[in-house]
């Protein structure tokens, strides 16, 4: 049972070592933010931060995060204390069905951590692993840029 830090709390989730991190998070972890979309690293719906780097939780064995810090969208902020990205996504109404958003927020958070004032091309590049079928891309790009401005 690998131990790791989940959104700031030490956890040991009861799953087989070879199970994926996504199973651990959605199963015994009880989270809903990381989402299953393809199981093959092709859509980004399951993106989480591992030691600050965006990773697809759908293929990563949970053993690989032993001793590491994992952050999901739930760890970015809460309705009472939203991350600037979450506030910006609401301000821009950046989403329709929203299924892709938790993964996109994670990649955007990683981007802003390494590049606080990204050009649009850099935002697009950071979000390239993510699929959005509703066509909310431009709103999402604006929301990330807005968050960057508000964090500056």
């Amino acid at each position: 049972m690998p131990r790791f830090t989940l959104n700031g709390t030490a956890v040991a989730l009861d799953v087989p070592e070879e199970a994926t991190l996504l199973h651990a998070l959605r199963g015994p972890g009880g989270l809903s933010g990381p989402r299953f979309g393809c199981g093959n690293e092709q859509c980004g719906a399951c993106m989480v931060l591992v030691e600050g780097e965006p990773c697809c939780a759908c293929t990563l064995p949970v053993a690989a995060v032993a001793g590491k810090a994992v952050v999901t969208v739930e760890g970015l902020g809460t309705p009472g204390a939203p991350h600037p990205l979450q506030a910006a996504f609401l301000a821009e109404q950046a989403g329709q069905c929203g299924y892709c958003l938790s993964g996109i927020l994670i990649s955007a958070a990683a981007l802003l951590a390494r590049d606080p004032a990204p050009e649009e091309a850099a935002i697009r590049a950071a979000l390239e692993p993510h699929l959005c079928r509703c066509g909310s891309h431009n709103r999402i790009l604006r929301a990330v840029a807005r968050a960057a401005r508000e964090m500056a």
């Binding site: 199973h23 859509c43 609401l90």
Partner: protein, 698 residues
């Protein structure tokens, strides 16, 4: 019986639509469902407006049988019209009833009472409120014929952009989707699908499975149940390796799909769509053109999911179906039981653009859960099932002959639209249309899909009748009576091909007449609202003064969706490199009264980006046995790096009826991209998607 607006006509009791609670809340219970389009926000605005209460007091409940009004299917861009129209009337009626009661009690004329956030203010001050009076018995009545909804000039909430009520949950990762349901004792189910369409399971080797997973088999329906998702997935993979199937070639040859459509059309059902024989000028020239599109996938971002639980003879189902009552009807047909034994509750799924796998997975959940009485079963499809087994939008072909007079104007039009039907939605046929119904030991037949009537917008021939002024016209369609690949409704239905083909002819005829594509369209249009969106989009894009750049081109597309719905005009700028990219889109829309203008813009933009994806990338691929584009690499959709910039203009008409926004912009965007390709490369696309291979054949 008096005629009532929208779906109030068939769900006439006010209590079916709303309830007022003493603690200062209102619940509205529409039968339309949230698909990511924002309908619950729009309907809440309408209720808040008519009741004159703060929007925050309104709670829109997800639809469920048997208590929600039966509003059929959430489709066709009709929700604001049918559900919003009903709710506006119902809430206006409720307001009048409450005001009548309080006026009588206090003894003041009803006209002298005004409402402030639900409090009733008489000439001498506050005389009551909805909350003080909250009495559901007042709403246990049929809606009256005459009510007085608030006038357009009085509206404060409807017509104003408000934030989506569902979005906060979605940015904080709160459990909201059906996928997130966690019920006590819940088991996880996975399907084992045949390796080929129509394959039959003839042998299944026994052996242990991970997590002591339980096998559920009925004919060729094969599923596993386990305590955890991890075990269910591992067990499904193990079981698939132990299954032997009898398979045969049943699909057409993809390389010659257009030829197959022609052959199958000869055996199909041909019918007239529209005919006009006004006096026409002599024909100077005739354009004969054919257009073709492949099968298209919904490509929902989440695999379909449902949760089902049996208790004795009763079944409860949680689903992201577009039509809870329709689904209930088909589940009951498969189970051969009374529909009243089934409760179907809507929960949100990922974005839905038509009849995807939502209904199918609900049957899978119900069949699997039957093997575990009393326990909830969460059935989740794989990505492969979602892209490989959901219903597809059918491949299509249209042949057009357009007659031009000496001035180059349209004098005649003959077209023939060939396609499978565009609907196999549940609830409408005596037999169930759910996927696994055909796989059972006692299977149900798979009937060829049908087309909705033209009065309901049509299916294959949707938007097949040009809105342009043409004196002589004959439009026909052939519905195929064989269906090797299961087809059903996807955003726009046949409009995606029909609008592009009509607009392509308009561009070509304009060029022959030496006219600008915008001017040529305007001189064939009599509808002022159509002209208005075209002029607006031209202004937005700087169409008149546009320059030419090597490798770039601009094109224009217009339609009034279904010829009765929303107006949309789109201009696209494309760049031709190793393949074609759409760089910019300008969109002007007119949806009549826009309840949540920002929501309308979101829909118009999303639809156009969906159109760009279809135009440039999308094609269902298959061999003679199965769908091979069953993963994202095989069915690419537009990604962030190549999504065009979009500028929008909404022509708001608060005095006009709602027209629906979800499907209006998609096909005009495809047409505009085709026009841009012509300007950039000098060729007229004839086959979707506009890939280098297909453009090389143009």
């Amino acid at each position: 019986m008096h005629r009532l607006p929208g779906n109030l006509q068939t769900n006439r009791r006010l209590s079916q639509w709303l309830a007022i609670h003493p603690e200062g809340r209102v619940t509205v219970t529409p039968g339309k469902v949230e698909l990511g389009q924002g309908i619950l926000t729009t309907l809440s605005q309408i209720a808040a407006e008519e009741l004159e209460v703060d929007l925050a007091r309104i709670e829109a409940r997800p639809a469920a049988t048997p208590d929600s009004p039966d509003e059929g299917v959430t489709s066709g861009s009709l929700s604001t019209q049918d559900s919003g129209g009903a709710l506006r009337h119902a809430c206006a009626a409720a307001r009048a009833i409450f005001l009548g009661v309080v006026a009588q009690r206090v003894g003041v004329p009803v006209e002298t009472i005004r409402i402030e956030d639900g409090r009733f203010i008489g000439p001498a001050g506050e005389i009551g409120s909805y909350w003080a009076l909250a009495d559901q018995a007042l709403l246990e009545c049929e809606a009256p014929a005459e009510v007085k909804p608030r006038a357009p000039g009085e509206r404060r909430v409807a017509g104003r952009s408000v934030p989506r009520i569902d979005l906060p949950d979605k940015v904080f990762g709160v459990a909201r989707y059906v996928h997130d349901l966690r019920l006590p004792g819940m088991l996880h189910g996975r399907m084992v699908r045949p390796p080929a369409r129509g394959a039959r399971l003839f042998a299944l080797r026994e052996g242990p499975l991970p997590g002591d997973a339980q096998v559920v088999r009925d004919g060729s329906f094969l599923a596993v149940l386990a305590d955890t998702e991890w075990d269910a997935e591992a067990a499904a993979a193990r079981l698939a390796a132990r299954a032997e199937w009898a398979a045969a070639d049943t699909l057409p040859e993809q390389a010659v799909l257009a030829d197959w459509l022609r052959e199958a059309a000869a055996r199909g059902e041909r019918s007239p769509v529209a005919s006009r024989t006004d006096p026409a000028p002599p024909v100077a020239r005739t354009l004969s053109r054919s257009f073709h599109r492949p099968y298209l996938a919904h490509a929902s971002i989440a695999p379909s999911c449902a949760v089902a639980r049996w208790e004795g003879e009763r079944v409860e189902v949680f689903t992201h179906s577009q039509g809870p009552y329709n689904l209930r009807a088909d589940l009951a047909k498969v189970l051969r039981c009374d529909p009243a034994l089934l409760t179907v509750r809507h929960r949100e799924g990922a974005g839905c653009y038509g009849h995807n796998g939502a209904d199918d997975v609900a049957l899978d959940a119900v069949l699997a859960a039957r093997a575990a009485p009393g326990r909830p079963v969460r059935m989740l499809w794989s990505r492969t099932e979602e892209l490989g087994w959901s219903p597809f939008s059918p491949a299509m072909l249209v042949d057009i002959e357009a007659d031009l007079d000496a001035a180059g104007d349209l004098a005649g039009w003959r077209s023939h639209i060939v396609s499978n039907g565009h609907s196999s939605r549940p609830g409408r046929d005596p037999e169930p249309t759910l996927l696994s119904a055909s796989m059972l030991a006692a299977p149900f037949p798979v009937k060829p899909s049908i087309n909705p009537a033209m009065a309901a917008g049509g299916g294959a021939p949707r938007n097949g009748v040009p809105l342009y002024r043409i004196p002589a016209m004959r439009v026909e369609t052939t519905r195929l009576l064989e269906m090797p690949i299961r087809t059903s409704a996807l955003r726009g239905l046949g409009a995606t091909l029909n609008i592009w083909s009509i607009e392509s002819i308009m561009d070509e005829a304009a060029a022959l007449a030496g006219a600008d594509p915008l001017d040529y369209r305007l001189r064939h249009l009599e509808d002022a609202r159509a002209a208005a969106v075209l002029r607006r989009v031209a202004e937005l894009a700087g169409w008149a003064g546009r320059g030419r750049r090597e490798g770039f081109g601009m094109g224009l597309g217009f339609a009034r969706y279904k010829n009765t719905g929303a107006y949309a005009a789109v201009i696209a700028e494309v760049e031709a490199l190793e393949r074609v990219f759409c760089r910019r889109l300008w969109i002007a829309g007119d949806v009549g009264e826009a309840v949540n203008p920002d929501g309308v813009l979101n829909q118009l933009e999303g639809g156009a980006i969906h159109g760009a994806s279809v135009a440039l990338l999308e094609e269902v691929r298959f061999d003679r046995r199965s769908i091979t584009s069953d993963h994202w690499e095989g069915y690419p959709i537009l990604r962030f790096s190549e999504v065009p910039q979009v500028e929008l203009a909404l022509i708001d008409r608060p005095e006009e009826p709602f027209l629906g926004a979800g499907e209006a912009s998609m096909a005009p965007a495809i047409a505009a991209i085709a026009g841009g390709i012509t300007e950039a490369l000098g060729i007229r696309p004839r086959q979707l998607p506009f890939t280098p291979e297909n453009l090389a054949r143009a």
